[in-house]
Structures are given as C-alpha cells and as structure tokens.
Amino acid sequence: MNLDKVVSGFFIILAMTLNFGFFYGDLDSLEAHSKYELFAAIVVNLIATTLKLGDRTQMGSVLLATSLVADIQLIAAAIVWAIAHYVYVIDKEIVVIIISLSGGALLANITSVALYVGETLKSKR
C-alpha cells in the first residue's frame, strides 16, 4: 500500500463526490444546493489539483488538465454567485448558470476519476 496513492485517490474522489453533492437537485432553484458544499468542493478540488502538480508522465498531465477544468468551472460558479448576491439579484438565469457550471465541473471530475481508476488498474503493483 502506498500512502501517497491513498491520499491523492482520496482527494480526487472526494472532489468528484462533493461536486456531485452540490450539483444534484432541482436545476432552477438553489434550495437543494448548499453554498457550503460548493465551498467544500472548491477547496477539495484545489487540493486535488496541487497533488497532481509536477507529475511529468502523460497520464499525470491529462489528470492535471481535467482538474484545472473542474477548478475553473467551480470557481466561476462561486464568482457568479457572489456577484449576483452582492451587486445584483439571484434570479432564475443566475441559478441555472451556477448549477450548470458545477455540472460541467462534475463531468471533468468524472473524467479525472475514470482516468485515475484506469491507471490504477493498469499498474501491476
């Protein structure tokens, strides 16, 4: 067992699950979408990204790319939410933007987990 693998696997999968937790629910109301869950998803995603930094293999680069995509989408969702909350009103359009952005991030996270699992299966150790 490799502690490094445990830690990075934990964060990569946690990033996806938190992302899913936030995304799951009605698409046009924020009632089922907790801002704390979004916050947690962003933090865990950022940590997962840092853990992938500096891996020079082909797989490492692709994993890093997917993570960066998820980060950007989630942070964009948070920024939209914050701007709407303080300087604008949260109407239906904004809600849809926030949720669909996190949905995009979810896709990136799923890809990332799929690649990660695939690589683990390939490894003989």
Partner: protein, 563 residues
C-alpha cells in the same frame, strides 16, 4: 515534456500550496460559523465571501481592518489564530519558492533550458567548439570576426563563467557538461543543418577520437577539426573521414625540416598563418649536428621527418622506456641520461654541434639546458618550444634563437581551415614545392604587393560574383587577368597575385593569367587593400564591371534620350 524547470517548480511547491489552501479553509470555516454583532446589535454570521475577503487581505499581511462590522471578541480570538495559521502558510510558501530559485539543480536546469532555446533559435551557420582554453579562445575570436556563430561545451563551470565574462558578440551559448557524452553534443545542436563543424582539441587523443566518432555518427555531413598527437590516432581519424587533423608535434617537426631545407617555404607558411610578415629576417638552419633533448611524441615526429635529411642527430632522453621500440636511423643516435647536465652535453658533442633543441616537457629544464649549452659553445643555435600563450613569456626574454609556438600554429591552422579553406589548401600544397619556387614567390610578393599581403578568397558564384556569373552564363569568356584591372584607370594594373585556382577539386598553384574563368571556380588572391576593394566592386557592381570590361561607363538609360 522538454521544459523540466517548470515541473521542478510545481513538484517542489505541492506542499506549500496545500498548506496555504488548508490554512485558508480552516480560517474561513471558523469565521463563517462564529457569531458577530452588526451595527444595530443584532447577531449575524459572515458569508463565505466576507470571510474569504477578510482572510485574503489578512493572510497576505495587507490588513484593511475589520469588515463588514467591528468584530466580536469570539471572532477576534479566531482571527488571532487564523493570522498565525495563514501568514505562516504564506511565508512558508514564499520561502520554499525562494529556496527553489537558489537550488543548484534548478539553476542548472534553467541554464540548460536557456542554452537549448539559444540553439533552437540559431538560424545562421555555427560551429561547436569543445572546451574553453587559450587555444579555443583565439579560434572563437577569429570565427566570430568572420560572422560564424559559435557554441561551446565546457566541462568546468569556472571556465564557462570565464567565457561568459568575455562578452562575445554575437553571444556564444555555453553548455556546462562533459563533452565526451553524446548527449552534450546532441544538445549543442550537432544534428542541425546549420551546424557546420565540431572542433575538438583536447590533450587526450582517445577522447578526441571518441568525440570525432560520435559526431560523425550523429551528423555525417559535419566537418571535424580534431587534434591528434600520434601517427596512430591521425590514421584512426582519417579513417572516419576527419576533415582537419592537426598534429602539433608534426607541425613542429615539419617547421624544423623546413627551416633546414627551405626557409622561404617556412616564411610563406608563417605569412599564411599570420604569425610573421614576409620581410622578417630569417636564416636557414645550417646542416650539421643537432642535439635534441627529449624523445617523447615530439622527438619521434622529428626523428621521422628528418630521417632523409643529411643531418646528424643526437637524442638525449632521460627515460629508458621511451626509446624501447625505436628503429634507429644510422645518422641518429641516443644517449640515455638527464640532458640538464654539463657532462652529458659534452658527451653528446656540444662543442661541435650546430644547434641544440630543448624539447623536454619541462620549461625550466629546457631553459636551463639552453643556458648551459650556450656557455659550452657560444656559436650554437638554441631552439625551444613554447606551449602556453601568455602575455608575459619567459622564453622571449631568454634570448633564444628560435622559438616554436605550436599552439599559435594550431590556432591558425584550425581557424584558417574553417574560415578560409582555400588558404589552408594553399599552405598544404606549397609543402610539396622546393626552395627555389618559394624564394621566387616570396620575392614576387614582396616586390609586387608588400611585406604582408592580404589573402582574399573569391568563389565565382552568384552570391559573391554575380556580375561575372551572369556574363559567363551568356557564353562569354573572361580571363583571370581581369582581376588585375585597376578601377581608377583600366590600363593600369593593381597589385594582385593569383596564388591558387581550384576547379572541380583540382588545384592549380600560381595559374597563368590567361586562364579563362568558369562558374564555381574558387580563386585565392594575394593582394593589397585597394586591389581587394576593386575586385569586390567589379564582381558585384554592374557599373564597375562594365567599366573594367570595356572601358566605357554603363549608361543607365537608353543613349537616344539624352543625346
């Protein structure tokens, strides 16, 4: 991935990043959960954005104060904790970054990335020079002066730094790596089309051979200029098609031979390699008895070169093992003893000798031998060699009759062969000629031109002589004498001597002036500055060409218009 340095940074910054992220998260979670009191005395909780905003400017030690409302004591307690957490996180992150920038591996990597970028941006032709020392330094200077770019591979960092301090223009990229690795040569761009040559002048023959071989395998079209000190390695190098093989010991032996046989040839050679002027006074070494101290690689070369001369040679060598497998010539003899000894020199017959040559590998011993010899026989000619080129030379102050400078010749041979291939060909070709031929040529050069004529190479090709090419292509004829014409007055002649004509691989020394020109001819002139200017003008400028050819000014417009 080619860019290693970025990956090194990212890898080293993993932990600092995670520390910062976790620190922020803990601080933010605390802030949004602790009750505060707003202006109206109502309880409130910070939003995530408020908390992030506050932590952002606190962690970076900017400190805008307490927002959105003055904090309650429970909030302040948490903020104290968060400040230590996040500020330390930041300092740790920045500290790691700075430590990384001073990291040796990282710096080397950065230097290598820079070198690789310089090589990949190199568009003009360049030459890879291995090792940076006083010989290669002079070669680099000459190459740069002739608009050829140079790349250097040097093993030692301090020497590489010395090169950087030279401040060459254009910049000479330097790679700090052992040159015997194929990787080093590859990084220096040896496989590139515009890499024209590799210069390897190390002391170690096997290293030179290895480099020559690797270079030949990496790029079969490249020119190789390599130093070799034994006949065996010269042959090996010739086997892998090394273009320029320079053997400093053979150079000295040849020079000695020429000094005895045909001093005018030596004069010509020294002029071609720009060591002396043609009018330097130089007396032929008399035939007689020569005492040569030291029988290493140099002694062997001399014994080999001079075996057909009518000269009696006595070699004095300290080490017995050095002369084990030597086949003796009947005019050559050996004394196994220390040459730096009056008795030994007397035994060698110093009083009847014409010259003493001190070629041991120790400068002090050499000087001491010559001083002793001069005391024993006042008329004796003293000959020494000087390897190091320094501004202050003990040899030049020691009043030695003749001083060989193999490194100076090495520099000139290599750079001439790379920059002016024709003059190098000329120098090699005249070695076959005799003293009378050389004496006549020296006299002609001195009379017609001056004591230090310029060597000028011209190829009849469109980039250098477009006018002549165009004219020849319309099936007209021009003779070599065309280049003698003075542009001031075409009935007068410039001071030009055509030394060599190279046509389809064949070399003609001193070709006759009515030889008709052909496209792709290569011509070597000896001339003065004015003649060189004229030749350049009439080969490229249509007006000057027209005047030299017909004596008439070429008219820009049709004559009819202005009549």
């Amino acid at each position: 991935m080619h860019n290693n340095s970025l990956w090194i940074i990212l890898q080293k910054l993993r932990i600092p990043f995670i520390v910062i992220i976790i620190g922020y998260t803990i601080a933010i979670i605390g802030l949004i959960n602790i009750n505060g009191i707003d202006d109206n005395g109502n309880a409130y909780k910070m939003t995530i954005f408020d908390a992030f905003y506050f932590i952002s400017y606190t962690a970076t030690t900017i400190g805008f104060g307490e927002t959105p409302y003055a904090f309650s004591y429970s909030q302040r307690l948490w903020v104290v904790f968060s400040i230590y957490l996040t500020v330390i996180g930041w300092l740790y992150g920045i500290g790691s970054l700075i430590a990384l920038l001073q990291n040796k591996t990282f710096l080397n990597e950065m230097a290598r990335v820079k070198f690789r970028r310089q090589i990949s941006h190199m568009r003009k032709k360049f030459i890879v020079v291995l090792g940076f020392n006083y010989v290669t330094k002079e070669i680099i200077k000459k190459l740069l002066a002739n608009d050829i770019y140079v790349v250097v591979i040097e093993k030692k960092e301090e020497k590489a730094n010395a090169l950087i301090l030279e401040n060459y223009t254009p910049t000479v990229p330097v790679l700090v790596l052992d040159a015997h690795k194929a990787k080093a040569l590859e990084q220096a761009g040896i496989h590139k089309l515009n890499c024209k040559a590799v210069v390897s002048l190390f002391e170690d023959d096997t290293l030179n051979l290895r480099i020559a071989m690797v270079s030949r395998l990496l790029n079969k079209n490249i020119q190789l200029a390599v130093k070799a000190t034994t006949q065996n390695s010269v042959n090996n190098l010739k086997d892998i098609n090394t273009n320029i093989v320079a053997n400093p010991f053979l150079i000295i032996a040849n020079e000695l031979k020429m000094a005895i046989q045909s001093p005018n040839l030596l004069k010509l050679e020294k002029w071609i390699y720009q060591i002396d002027r043609l009018d330097t006074h130089f007396e032929r070494f008399p035939v007689g008895k020569y005492i040569i101290c030291g029988f290493g690689r140099l002694g062997k070369s001399i014994s080999n070169e001079l075996k057909n001369e009518n000269i009696e040679i006595v070699f004095i060598e300290k080490e017995k093992k050095n002369i084990k497998d030597v086949v003796l010539n009947e005019r050559h003899s050996f004394i196994i003893d220390d040459a730096d000894n009056k008795e030994v020199l007397l035994k060698a017959g110093i009083q009847t000798a014409t010259a003493i040559v001190a070629f041991t590998n120790n400068d002090t011993v050499n000087l001491s031998i010559l001083a002793t010899a001069k005391k024993l026989n006042e008329k004796i000619i003293t000959i020494a060699r000087e390897d190091e080129m320094e501004d202050f030379s003990i040899f030049s102050n020691a009043k030695i009759d003749y001083l060989f400078m193999p490194s100076k010749i090495l520099i000139n041979i290599i750079s001439n062969a790379l920059i002016n291939p024709l003059s190098d060909t000329f120098a090699q070709a005249i070695a076959q000629k005799d003293e009378a031929w050389a004496a006549l040529l020296v006299k002609n050069l001195l009379q017609k031109i001056n004591a230090n004529p310029l060597l000028f190479e011209l190829s009849i090709q469109s980039f250098q002589a477009n006018q002549i090419c165009d004219y020849l292509e319309t099936s007209n004829e021009i003779a070599l004498s065309f280049f003698e014409i003075s542009l001031r007055n075409r009935n007068l002649k410039n001071n030009v001597i055509v030394l060599l004509l190279k046509r389809e691989g064949e070399i003609t020394l001193l070709p006759s002036l009515d030889t008709p020109l052909k496209v792709d001819d290569k011509i070597l002139f000896a001339c003065d500055e004015n003649a060189k200017n004229d030749i350049e003008y009439m080969t490229q400028n249509p007006y000057e060409f027209q005047y030299a050819l017909t004596g008439e000014e070429k008219k820009l417009f049709n004559k009819g218009i202005f009549k």
